[in-house]
Structure formats: structure tokens, C-alpha cells
């Protein structure tokens, strides 16, 4: 390396340090800045639709939700973030508690989104719903034997149950909901039963659990409805056995309903484009957008009266658990500790 290269490297670095305007200053066209944990083609499609309809450009950073919250905290008052979107109610509650979101009152949001899927003060709003369901091998399992999540701990499933690691947030929020309904002691006994029933040590993602049912490694799997929808609606030859062999049940929490988690968003506390942010959230719960979430991404809409994707519809309907979603945030850490205690990896 020539020593003459040093000044050039320093100059290049300085140039790279100056960011293009992030919408905090005078903009030519309107924009909205989104920090999102969701990384789906459906979302990109919706953002494009939004720009076409409103002329507001959507700028996105996709990353993990914990990291995004850390970034918003570090940026503080200078954060360019307008809308924070994540796929876990617990994280939305956390963002609110850490003062990263502002309360929004919008008649459109209030009327479209049922109260159970939004923060009463308007810090965050649910956009889609996912259910924690059980996929089973139709030849080997009688679905009537799985009416509740508690049934999954029954000794009859010993060595037959598949579920991924408790590292996964949807397992954490399922356990948190169990704690909310049945208390810590009963949930711990239940979780021990789950661990005893496991067909193998937890590994892989939800799709891998479905594949394992297809291959007969286990007979039933706790999975997210959205992965079931993707596998059933897809045409991957690797998934053919799964499509041919599984059925799906919606277990309930002792009669109150099926455990659900939401994807949702809120307006950032220091949003430089607050109005555009509200407009974007309103758009995302409009009938068109809600239908796209369902059709293109196999999620359940929050807006009532929207037809769900045929694949989801074929699975049957379910009654969601009435548990307030704020419980998922309150009990998440208890859920993780409990799974550590019972050895649910």
C-alpha cells in the first residue's frame, strides 16, 4: 500500500459519514420512515400500493426488533423513525414502556381494529393475527384428543410431539399466556409434560416441525398458523408429504379461545413525519391491505368482514383467546425462566 493512499481513504470515509437527508429537514416530496421487523414481500407490495395512492414515499430499515428499539433509543430526539412495526405484541408493549412510541388517536384506527388488538391508549395497533395451532398426522392422531393446549402434555403423546426451541418468541408468548390463565405452578407442570412428550430435542424452525410430521418423526407439532398456510399454499416438492398428511386443530386455553399473537405497529415518539405515519397505519388496516396480508402472507386480518385466504379458510375458523395482549409483555420473562427451569431448550 502506498502511504499516499491514506488521505483518499480518510476522504472516502468522511464522505460516507454524511447521510442523505432522512426526512428530518425540508423535503421535496413527502416521506415516511419505517423500522420494521417484518420482512415479507407482502409488506413491500403494500408499501408500493401506499405510495401510489398517497404520493408518500416509504423508506424502510428491516432488522431485529430488539436491535431496532436499541437504535431508536440511541437516536433519541433525532431518530428519523416514524413507524415501528414488529411481529410480537410483547415487543410492542416493550417499545411503549421504554417510551419509544407516542399515543395516537385516530377514528379510522379505532373503528377498524378491535379493542383486544390495540393499546387502549393508542401507542400501538395490531395489523394481523397469527394463531399457535397444532398440526397432526391425520392417520395417527385423533384431533378430538387435542381440545386444549393442556392436552398436549398428556402422557399419550410421549415421544410424539414436535416443537421448536423456546428461543422462539411465539413459544415464549404461548407459555406466557398459559401462565396468565393457569398460573406459574400449573404451567410449569404442563411445560415439563411438553418436554417429556418431545419427539426430539428442539431444532429448526416451524417449517422443520411440519416436515418432521410429514416424515413420521413425530405425530403432532405446535406451529404458527402462518407457516402452515405457507406450506399448504406453496408448491415446494419437499413439502408434498406434509401437504398430503397433515390436519390442523386450533386448541383453546380451557375454553377461552386459541392463543394468538399479533403483528402491529405504532408511531415513534419523535416521528418527524407524524401525519404520514398515521396515514400509513390507517392504510395498513384498510380492507385492501388487510386482504393482501391474508392472501399474500397467510395471516389473519384484524379487520372484521375481510375474507381470509382460501388456504386459511379451509383450516376452519377459530375463536381467539380473550386474554389482553399486554400480558404477553408482562409475562415474557417469566415464560423464558420457566422454560429454562423445565429444560425446554
Amino acid at each position: 500500500m502506498r502511504t499516499a493512499a491514506f488521505p483518499f481513504i480518510v476522504l472516502a470515509f468522511m464522505a460516507a459519514c454524511s447521510t442523505p437527508d432522512q426526512g428530518t429537514g425540508g423535503d421535496v416530496s413527502e416521506r415516511v420512515n419505517v423500522y420494521t421487523h417484518r420482512h415479507y414481500a407482502a409488506d413491500e407490495q403494500l408499501f408500493r400500493m401506499f405510495t401510489e395512492r398517497t404520493g408518500i414515499n416509504v423508506h424502510v430499515i428491516q432488522a431485529g426488533d430488539d436491535e431496532l428499539m436499541a437504535r431508536m433509543e440511541a437516536e433519541g430526539v433525532r431518530s428519523p423513525c416514524d413507524v415501528f412495526i414488529t411481529a410480537d405484541a410483547g415487543r410492542l408493549g416493550q417499545a411503549e414502556r421504554r417510551g419509544l412510541l407516542q399515543a395516537i388517536s385516530s377514528d379510522i384506527l379505532m373503528s377498524r381494529i378491535p379493542p383486544q388488538y390495540r393499546d387502549p391508549e393508542g401507542h400501538w395497533y395490531g395489523l394481523t393475527v397469527r394463531a399457535r395451532v397444532v398440526a397432526y398426522n391425520r392417520d395417527r392422531v385423533d384431533p378430538d384428543a387435542i381440545r386444549t393446549y393442556a392436552d398436549l402434555a398428556d402422557p399419550r403423546w410421549k415421544g410424539r410431539l414436535l416443537v421448536r426451541s423456546s428461543e422462539n418468541v411465539y413459544n415464549q408468548s404461548l407459555i406466557a399466556a398459559m401462565i396468565a390463565h393457569h398460573g406459574t405452578v400449573a404451567t410449569e407442570t404442563w411445560a415439563r409434560g411438553i418436554v417429556t412428550n418431545m419427539a426430539r430435542a428442539p431444532k429448526g424452525g416451524d417449517t422443520d416441525q411440519l416436515l418432521a410430521v410429514g416424515e413420521g418423526i413425530g405425530d403432532l407439532a405446535i406451529v404458527n398458523s402462518y407457516y402452515v398456510g405457507k406450506v399448504l399454499a406453496g408448491n415446494d416438492p419437499q413439502h408434498a408429504k406434509v401437504r398430503a398428511s397433515i390436519g390442523v386443530v386450533f386448541p383453546t386455553m380451557d375454553g377461552t379461545g386459541t392463543h394468538v399473537n399479533i403483528s402491529g405497529g405504532g408511531v415513534a415518539r419523535h416521528a418527524p413525519n407524524r401525519d404520514a405515519a398515521v396515514t400509513l397505519l390507517e392504510f395498513l388496516c384498510s380492507p385492501d391491505a388487510q386482504q393482501t396480508f391474508s392472501e399474500a402472507n397467510m395471516e389473519y386480518p384484524v379487520l372484521e368482514g375481510i375474507p381470509v385466504a382460501t388456504t386459511l379458510d379451509d383450516l376452519g375458523s377459530f375463536v381467539p383467546d380473550t386474554l389482553g395482549l399486554e400480558a404477553l409483555e408482562r409475562l415474557n420473562s417469566a415464560a423464558v425462566k420457566l422454560s429454562d427451569a423445565v429444560g425446554w431448550k
Binding site: 500500500m1 502511504t3 493512499a5 491514506f6 481513504i9 472516502a12 470515509f13 468522511m14 460516507a16 459519514c17 454524511s18 447521510t19 442523505p20 437527508d21 432522512q22 420482512h39 423508506h59 424502510v60 430499515i61 428491516q62 432488522a63 431485529g64 426488533d65 430488539d66 436491535e67 431496532l68 436499541a70 437504535r71 440511541a74 437516536e75 433519541g76 430526539v77 433525532r78 428519523p80 416493550q94 421448536r164 426451541s165 428461543e167 418468541v169 415464549q172 426430539r200 430435542a201 428442539p202 431444532k203 429448526g204 416451524d206 422443520d208 418432521a212 410429514g214 416424515e215 418423526i217 405457507k230 415446494d236 419437499q238 415474557n332 420473562s333 423464558v336 425462566k337 427451569a341 431448550k345
Partner: protein, 525 residues
């Protein structure tokens, strides 16, 4: 050399130390946080989490290191000192795995040999045995297959240069090949191998994607479990401290391994000894097996996914992501190497090595997300004071800086290693003739370092191309690189769709890998 140190003006060294402090700052921020940050769940983490996670970390480290040594040393030895069919091809083909990000490799091997992988399924159907590599030994194997070039490269360089005389002597005294390797070559190459093993160990420790997917509990997954699951950043940072302790231990072992090793000034290249008959074919078979498992299998799977499952069109945005990847990797490699050269200068002339520089070098072992926290804490502080007109967080410059914090060790290690092999008399002579330290360094040491600088720059570029967590969180709006694209597709379990960007990452990484190979080949000629 030391005697000159006293006459050297301290100014430049102080400036370099200040630069080191700048690079160590994010680490200092996160690593001192446990001293004052609350850690409400620490009692639980210590009791229920740490024992398992520490145990599996150590087992994994041990597994990966031993398998990688078993793969790398014989391969390096064969290619460096012998001649056999296809040797020229294996020389560089053995470096290819370096272009594969570990999480892509892990997904790919699992798609073939995991419990429901395609090989496993067909074996189960035909002979009733279902292989499963998604466990600790399997992960050790997978990581070793991807990371062994970190040992293969320095070992090969050491074997092929600087020990020809000794090896010839041993041969004339009647020592067989095995004895020459174990008694002569290995002890001489020990520092080079230890340096490579250190990089490999650090890569293993900071891995998140592959480890999580395989369901293994390491300190790194423990950090994320505490942070995201227990909502306890304090405990997460304490776990980072434990991780750092482990690295410090490894660094100490590596430094000790250099003790008592004499510098060789003998730069005579090895004249390869031809292998004959069965031996030659055995050598070819071994290298073929390694290349087939480490590069052929995962690449074959990715390529077949691209060919079989895509409609022939490159998905939109991939080309732009490709260019962004090149831009980011180029910026990071040049910035990191500029710093590494200054640190090498200080290492050469300062009285003692700088603790801050050593600390700055540890960034390589820390999970990217934790480094990102440190970088954002610092940059966020400056941003909130409105010191700069524009925000630092979300600028390419800050991303480049973060890469340097993370990959500094990759830039400095090859330079240090190379300088240790250089004869100290050369620049001493220049100094004695009245040249300033910088002049002696830039006119004598630096030209000799050139190949090492090139090699280090390539290594940094490869790492940046594969890097994920820092890129994800620190990137500017709407910036996609190949690795962020692959990850976004892979994490929604759409592995087939991610095959295009995955293939491009490998191709993108192959450029620097092959350039690196050429640089090293020229060096050993």
C-alpha cells in the same frame, strides 16, 4: 530494534493510541456497562442459563477446532510440500468454503442431512436409517468445514516457506513424511497455525444464525435470550463479559504458543516432492473428499435450487444488492487496512505493545449485535448533541467504522504475522542510516508487507460480504446487501427463494478468495 525505541518521538504513537481508543470505544462502552447497568435476572441467568450455555460453547469450540485441524493440516501439508494429481486445483479450491457464510452453510447442510433433509429422507426410505446432523457434533462438523481455511491458509504458507532447509535436513537424516510433519514442520508452523485457529475460534464464538437453527445453546444465543427473552440487557452484557474472558484465555494461549519459536530468516521456497503411485492418488482422494464436502455439497445444493426452482429470472433488486455489497466491502476493507498498517507500524517501533490496540482487536469475537449496541450508543450520543450536520447512525461511514471495530483482528493479524517473519536487521539498518521510523517503515517494512496487506484486505472484504447483524441494524434506509437479502428470505423459511442471493454471495466472496489465493501464490513463488 528495541534500543531505537527510546529515540523515537512519542507523538505519532500517541496519535495511533488515540485511534486505537476510538476503535475500542464501542467495546469499552458495552463491556463496562455491566458495572453500572441493572441486571434484574442475573441470578437466574447465572444459575439456569450460564452452565448449559458455557458447557455447549466449550464443547462446540473444542469440536470445531479439532475437526478443522484434522482437515486443514494434512491438506495444507500435502499441497505445500508434495506434488500429486490436481494439486494446482486443490491449492485454491480448498479456500472456497471461506466464501460461504456460516448460516447459509448451516441451512444448506441441514436441508441435505438434517432430520428431514433430502438425503436423510431418501436414506430413511431406502435403508431405514435417518442421518441427523442437527446436533452438537453435526454443527461442529459443519462449522469446521466452512471455517477450516482460516487454518489451512496460514499453515500452507508456513509449510511452503521458511522451513525448506530444516525439512531437507530431516529427510536426509531418514525421517519419514509423517515424522517430518510432526517433529519438524508442526513446531515451526505452530504460531501461524495458532493465529489461524484463533480467528476460527472467534468466528465460532460469535456465530448466531447457524447455532440457533441447530438448537445449540452457546454464550452468544444466551446473550440474545437474556436480551430479547428476559428483557434484561444488563445480563446480556455480563454474558458478553464471560465471552470476552474466554477470548482473553484463547489469546493468552495463542501468545504462549509463540514463545520459544525462533524467527526464520530463511525464505527459500519449498520444492515440492512428487508423490508416487498409491500415495499420490491417496493425496488426491483426500483433497477431493475435503473439497467435495466443504464446497461441492453446499454449492451444489444452492446451484441446484437456483436451476430447479427459479423461473430463470434473477429476482429484482439482486443486482443493486450486489453493487451495494461491493461498495460496502471495499470501503470497509480499505479503511480497516489503513488502520491496521498504522497499528503494525506501532507494533514494530513502540517499546511495548498497546493494551488498547489489543482490546480493539477483540471485537472479532463479540457478536455483531452487541458491537452494534456500542457503536449506536456512541454515535447516538454525538448525534443528540447535534455536533454533525447529519446523523451518524444510518450513514455508510458509521457502518464502515463498525465493520472496522468488528474485523480489525482480521486486518492486523496477517500483518503482525508477516512482520514477525521479517528480519529486523533491514529496518534497523535504515534507522541507523538516519531514516525516521515512519520512513524506515514505509520504505522497508511496508513494501515487504504488501502481499500480507493485500491478503488481509481480501479477508476483511470476505468477512464484510458475509456479515449480517451489523449490516442489518446500522444500514441506511432502503440499503440491501446480498447478505441482508438472503437472510430476509431464509428467516421466513423460504429457503428456495433465498438461493439466488446466496449464490451471489458466494460468487461475490469468490473474487476476494481467488485474489487472495493469487497473492499468496505469488508470495510463495
Amino acid at each position: 530494534m528495541r534500543s531505537f525505541a527510546a529515540h523515537i518521538p512519542r507523538g505519532p504513537f500517541l496519535a495511533i493510541s488515540a485511534l486505537a481508543l476510538l476503535l475500542a470505544a464501542p467495546l469499552i462502552v458495552v463491556l463496562t456497562a455491566p458495572l453500572h447497568a441493572p441486571a434484574p435476572e442475573w441470578e437466574h441467568v447465572q444459575r439456569a442459563l450460564l452452565p448449559h450455555h458455557l458447557r455447549e460453547t466449550i464443547l462446540l469450540l473444542f469440536g470445531v477446532l479439532s475437526i478443522a485441524l484434522v482437515i486443514a493440516i494434512p491438506s495444507a501439508w500435502l499441497v505445500a510440500v508434495h506434488d500429486f494429481p490436481l494439486r494446482g486445483f486443490f491449492r485454491w479450491a480448498l479456500v472456497i468454503p471461506l466464501a460461504l457464510p456460516t448460516y447459509i452453510s448451516a441451512f444448506t447442510y441441514a436441508a441435505l442431512l438434517g432430520p428431514t433433509g433430502s438425503f436423510s429422507n431418501s436414506l430413511a426410505a431406502s435403508i431405514g436409517i435417518r442421518p441427523d446432523i442437527m446436533n452438537l457434533p453435526g454443527l461442529s462438523m459443519v462449522l469446521a468445514l466452512v471455517l477450516f481455511p482460516y487454518i489451512y491458509l496460514p499453515a500452507r504458507a508456513a509449510f511452503s516457506r521458511g522451513m525448506a532447509t530444516q525439512l531437507d535436513a530431516a529427510r536426509m537424516l531418514g525421517a519419514g513424511a509423517q515424522r517430518r510433519l510432526v517433529r519438524v514442520a508442526m513446531p515451526l508452523a505452530r504460531p501461524a497455525i495458532a493465529g489461524g485457529a484463533l480467528l476460527l475460534a472467534m468466528e465460532t464464538l460469535n456465530d448466531f444464525g447457524a447455532v440457533k437453527y441447530f438448537g445449540i445453546r452457546t454464550l452468544t444465543t444466551g446473550i440474545f435470550r437474556s436480551w430479547g427473552g428476559l428483557y434484561d440487557m444488563g445480563s446480556a452484557l455480563r454474558l458478553s463479559m464471560v465471552l470476552l474472558g474466554l477470548i482473553a484465555l484463547l489469546l493468552w494461549v495463542e501468545r504462549r504458543s509463540r514463545r520459544g519459536v525462533r524467527q526464520t530468516t530463511d525464505q527459500a521456497p519449498m520444492k515440492p516432492i512428487p508423490l508416487k503411485g498409491a500415495h499420490a492418488w491417496l493425496a488426491t482422494a483426500w483433497c477431493l473428499l475435503v473439497v467435495a464436502c466443504a464446497a461441492g455439497l453446499p454449492l451444489g445444493k444452492i446451484i441446484s435450487d437456483v436451476v430447479l426452482h427459479s423461473d430463470g429470472t434473477v429476482p429484482g433488486g439482486v443486482l443493486k444488492a450486489f453493487l451495494n455489497t461491493l461498495l460496502v466491502a471495499g470501503l470497509a476493507a480499505s479503511f480497516t487496512l489503513a488502520i491496521a498498517v498504522l497499528f503494525a507500524f506501532r507494533e514494530r517501533y513502540a517499546r511495548r505493545s498497546d493494551l488498547v490496540i489489543r482490546l480493539a482487536n477483540m471485537g472479532y469475537a463479540i457478536p455483531g449485535a452487541v458491537i452494534a449496541i456500542g457503536v449506536m450508543a456512541l454515535a447516538g450520543f454525538l448525534d443528540r448533541q447535534h455536533i454533525m450536520g447529519t446523523a451518524l447512525i444510518g450513514s455508510l461511514g458509521m457502518l464502515t467504522y463498525a465493520f472496522s471495530v468488528r474485523f480489525l483482528a482480521v486486518g492486523t493479524q496477517p500483518l503482525y504475522g508477516n512482520m514477525r517473519q521479517q528480519s529486523p536487521y533491514l529496518d534497523e539498518a535504515a534507522r541507523m542510516l538516519g531514516a525516521s521510523p515512519w520512513r524506515a517503515f514505509s520504505r522497508i517494512t511496508l513494501p515487504l508487507l504488501k502481499p500480507a496487506i493485500g491478503a488481509a484486505a481480501m479477508l476483511v472484504a470476505i468477512d464484510v460480504i458475509k456479515e449480517l447483524p451489523l449490516t442489518l441494524i446500522l444500514r441506511p434506509f432502503d440499503l440491501h446487501t446480498l447478505s441482508t437479502m438472503t437472510y430476509e428470505l431464509a428467516s421466513i423459511e423460504q429457503l428456495r427463494d433465498s438461493s439466488w442471493p446466496a449464490l451471489l454471495i458466494v460468487i461475490c466472496g469468490l473474487f476476494p478468495v481467488l485474489l487472495l489465493e493469487r497473492l499468496l501464490a505469488r508470495q510463495s513463488r
